[in-house]
Subunit: 226 residues, 2 copies
DNA sequence: TTACTATTCAAGTATTCTATTGAATAGTGT
DNA sequence: ACACTATTCAATAGAATACTTGAATAGTAA
């Protein structure tokens, strides 16, 4: 192969990978992707959660779709978007990891907004795994119930954050509780920990969500609720 | 935390991750990163390999540095760039993986330019590992010798591709050879396989390079040559 | 059919990114 | 001090991206 052909090959190749990066190079699209790690969603739903206009959300989803990072399923009036496959999730985790380890700014943002978080105790995924086996804790999934239905940690019990304060009676006051939600940047679990802690429960925030649990090689459960 | 504050938090956070993606969103910068997986390099060296002007290469390196993906060390006249840490390498691998699994275009590019590749046989990293243990093959590193010096597969022998045809006498004609280079998109090993095959050697191309070897959890060797 | 809903498309403007060029900086060797 | 080299900086013009708005499409319900 000639020199100029080699260059052509490399240019064409790296251009393809750059296309993917470009699709990721926007904060709104990353937020959309992050939401999609929890399962498929409609455009409207995504637009609401991310505070984008519907047209804008749709446009960003088109961009992600052009890069093959998400796929759509149409059912009736709705378009359901989801991650194209598991490697996309791995990529987002990888990106997050680089951000957390490299950018002091990420830590600064978390520090600034989540000062509360350091007041309360958290528990790592591997510690949790052990304590669940010993039936030592109650595991609480505080995400919306449809997300729980799609996938949740085994043994977890669903009490969406919006219902938590009305359903305190369901929790035994003497058993430690671990609350979790979508992942490290989701605030539901923080809120749950604050609420429960105030009522005298011994409560921990799980460091991670279902994606991180899965990345540890542990299995997930579906529906069957409890 | 109030609603508008939550939004502020998320916007700030995802913006940080988008900064990293933006740094990756250019084919030249990806090529630079890919080269840096082999070890540190000077600006001039990188500019030559990527066919960029020095000023342009330097500018792209600044962009990567601003996103904390690479770091510099200055020694005398030269600035040596390298990957900021291992998580950056993992990110690049992740991105490549998504590209390979998702984008038919990547496969098409490889197919189009590397039609030769399918003529010859390749060997996977795990197969190689076994055959090395059995001392069944000669392992040939055909990258430039300075890259070999930084890191190479254990048991590998260095014959840079530029010297290969003059040094054929060093190779036993009856032993199978496995050639490897920087990784799947590096062409040195393809060239070596073509050359050796033509001279009657039994020769395979390793599917991957030192980064992929490392990603399999195997150790690397340094210097000591042979 | 008609009214309605969820989503997508299209166009315009403001912003950001890229490559090029030439000048500036900071080391080295004499 | 001088000439020289490797690298970075600054300014520019052209290309690509983002968000808004309003219109178009396609399915649903009556």
């Amino acid at each position: 192969m000639e020199l100029s052909q080699k260059r052509q090959f490399k240019d064409a190749l790296y251009e393809q990978f750059a296309r993917i990066s470009r699709a990721l190079a926007n904060p709104h699209r990353l937020e959309l992707l992050d939401l999609l790690t929890q399962g498929e969603r409609t455009v409207e739903d995504l637009a609401n959660e991310t505070a984008l206009s519907i047209a804008n959300a749709s446009q960003h989803l088109q961009t992600l779709r052009a890069a093959q990072l998400v796929s759509v399923r149409r059912e009736g009036l709705y378009a359901y978007y989801r991650l194209a496959n598991a490697s996309v999730q791995a990529l987002w985790l990888s990106l997050r990891q680089v951000g957390e380890s490299q950018l002091a700014d990420v830590q600064a943002v978390v520090q600034h907004f989540l000062a509360d978080r350091s007041q309360y105790q958290s528990i790592s995924i591997s510690d949790l795994y052990q304590r669940i086996e010993q039936q030592d804790v109650v595991l609480l999934d505080v995400r919306p119930s449809n997300e729980f239905a799609v996938a949740h940690l085994p043994q977890a019990r669903s009490i969406p954050i919006t219902e938590l304060s009305q359903r305190l009676a369901e929790l035994a006051p003497d058993q430690p509780i671990v609350a979790y939600c979508r992942g490290p940047y989701c605030l539901f679990a923080d809120e749950a920990v604050a609420t429960l802690s105030q009522r005298g429960f011994e409560v921990y925030r799980l460091d991670g969500g279902i994606v991180e649990w899965q990345a540890h090689g542990f299995a997930l459960a579906q529906e069957t609720a409890k």
